[in-house]
């Protein structure tokens, strides 16, 4: 006669060390194996889209930092391009290259936190602190560039706010020379660790059809085998002139679409971003950094949807303007929100420890989900 067991309803609540931000998961488990997992989002909703209707275009730029504070430059970039396209504002070439350089540097540090917290959730503490140590270099660089370490507010319509300080490009090169061997060391420490592989290979496999069906974007999509990167396929800024590879999930790193592949896609993306930054430094043109106009910005009436490749996937800004100096409606489409939708499907039948690994591998961040 089978043993009668009871189901347990566990609340992986908003306060939890390994949900990335304030997320809540309501789990129905039988102790270890999860029957059903329901994500409960909205704890970090700040009404950003509503705020956009109340402030002017330049005033909303600092708020875009806070959509994904780990990749603030990329969020700024998307918004700046949206407004510039709708308003027909030109950007000088130096500003374009600086934009790409800081966006890619920001991608590096965002992925550093992503893989670092991933390792932390699996139990290894040292890779996390090592990743943060690498991140501190770039924080220092950004601090001397624009004055802030997390929410940069560096982009303006028509360029970037400040020109590069003296010797900045040398310091960036020095960082890259320091960073690439460190990334290799990081891989030796944790990425090829047998215990780490045991935890992640074959866990949370998302097939290509599922990934497309649930509208996953960014590294999550690429790890499932779909070769799609907005920087290469719908280029914006100066990405069309730059050479870089787009890492896609491969059977070399476990199963295609599992957590290990998502981890490795981010590691390889960091290497490619370093390559892009080096090219930007080599090609940095002279000139002005901000095509500043003294007039108050009023966009012509119309709509514009611009999507850029933020570290967490496709970040889309849908702007509807009625001809005023502030948006009529600004809708922000983030990658983390779609990633949350697939958690419920994947979570049945796996263990709690695997759920932690799964959430960490999707690289969700709560402010992006809730805005």
């Amino acid at each position: 006669m089978p043993l009668a067991t009871e189901e347990m309803i566990l609340n992986m609540g908003p306060h939890h060390p390994s949900t990335h931000g304030v997320l809540r998961f309501i789990l129905r488990t039988d102790g270890e194996v999860i029957y059903r997992c329901r994500p409960d989002v909205g704890f970090l909703h700040r009404g950003l889209e509503k705020i956009a209707e109340m402030v002017t275009y330049p005033q909303f730029m600092p708020y875009t930092d806070r959509i994904d504070y780990l990749a603030a430059m990329n969020c700024n970039l998307g918004y700046a391009i949206t407004v510039e396209r709708l308003g027909g504002i030109e950007v000088p070439p130096r500003a374009e290259y600086v934009r790409v350089m800081v966006a890619e540097l920001n991608r590096i540090i965002s992925h550093l936190i992503s893989v670092g917290t991933f390792a932390l959730d699996i139990g290894a503490v040292t890779p996390f602190t090592h990743a943060l140590r690498e991140r501190e270099w770039v924080n220092d660089l950004f601090e001397e560039l624009c004055g802030a370490r997390l929410t940069y507010h560096y982009f303006r319509f028509g360029g970037v706010a400040f020109d590069l300080p003296d010797g900045f490009l040398d310091r960036v090169t020095r960082f890259l020379d320091y960073f690439e061997p460190r990334l290799a060391q990081f891989n030796r420490l944790i990425s090829t660790n047998k215990i780490f592989k045991e935890r992640l290979v074959g866990v949370g496999v998302i097939s290509a059809e599922e990934a497309l069906g649930y509208a996953l974007v960014g590294p999550n999509l690429r790890a499932s085998g779909i070769d799609w990167d907005l920087r290469r396929d719908e280029p914006y800024a100066v990405y069309a002139d730059l050479e870089f590879e787009v890492p896609v999930g491969s059977p070399e790193f476990g199963e295609v679409g599992d957590c290990y592949n998502r981890f490795w896609v981010r590691i390889r993306e960091m290497e490619q971003s370093a390559r892009i930054v080096r090219q930007c430094i080599a090609r940095m043109p002279e000139g002005s950094h901000w095509n500043r106009s003294k007039k108050k910005l009023k966009l012509p009436p119309g709509e514009m949807y611009v999507r850029t490749e933020a570290p967490r996937g496709e970040l889309g800004y849908y702007l509807i303007s009625r001809g005023e100096d502030r948006p009529y409606r600004l809708k922000i489409r983030t990658g983390s929100f779609s990633a949350m939708s697939i958690v419920e499907k994947l979570a049945s039948g796996i263990m709690v420890a695997d759920l932690v690994a799964l959430i960490a591998s999707l690289d969700v961040i709560a402010p992006e989900i809730d805005r």
Partner: protein, 209 residues
């Protein structure tokens, strides 16, 4: 001899575990004992100047040159990071009253409504003079829009980041002192009266002609 797949994987697992664990342990060992530590020992290290502070804590010496090169947390920072707050760092806002012309551009530029300005017309200056200038540091998000639009650099970023207080009300700062405000309001009142008299005189002149 062909070894069955399962047995091969078994020993391969063991081998891989041992080698990767050993490699990981060596990297941690190297980091622990052979690399410079990146800790910037704030607050005994003065991050505004970028050097150790004088006697920040009772158990440390002052920058007594006799002991400075010896051990302790008051040593000079030798790690790879920058121990000094950058020049462009966006710290707490600062206000230079003499330069302010009460144009209210900063109040309009702020997305949150952190700044409150009121200005009055006074004899002897072309531009208005501020009588209140309140910044609510509790709400400021350090975006810099106000600093960007100020035509006279009256509002600027200091490099100060230590703004925590025990009472929230201490975070709302009024920059124009009571005396200055009363004096200016008086001057403004006088200027208004004078302007009213001038207008009356002009009207009288106009009527008399």
């Amino acid at each position: 001899m062909k070894v069955p797949e399962g047995i091969r994987k078994y020993f391969q697992n063991i081998y891989e575990s041992v080698t990767t664990i050993a490699v990981g342990m060596w990297i941690t060992f190297k980091t622990a004992f052979f690399e410079r530590k990146v800790t910037i020992q704030y607050p005994s290290h003065d991050v505004m100047e970028g050097r150790p502070k004088e006697a920040a804590l009772p158990s440390h010496t002052s920058l007594n040159p006799t002991f400075e090169p010896l051990l302790g947390a008051s040593q000079k920072y030798r790690g790879p990071l920058n121990p000094r707050v950058a020049d462009r760092y966006r710290g707490l806002l600062g206000y230079d009253e003499p330069k302010c012309i009460s144009c209210l551009l900063c109040e309009q530029a702020c997305p949150i409504g952190v700044i409150t300005v009121k200005g009055v017309k006074i004899e002897g200056r072309k531009t208005k003079a501020p009588v209140t200038f309140i910044i609510d540091y509790a709400k400021c998000m350090f975006c810099g829009l106000c600093v960007e639009v100020c035509p006279t650099d009256a509002i600027f970023f200091t490099r100060q980041f230590e703004g925590a207080t025990y009472d929230c009300r201490n975070l709302i700062r009024e920059f124009i002192g009571g005396e200055l405000r009363r004096e200016r309001l008086k001057l403004a009142e006088e200027a208004r009266k004078k302007a009213a008299e001038d207008r009356k005189e002009k009207e009288d002149e106009g009527r008399s002609l």
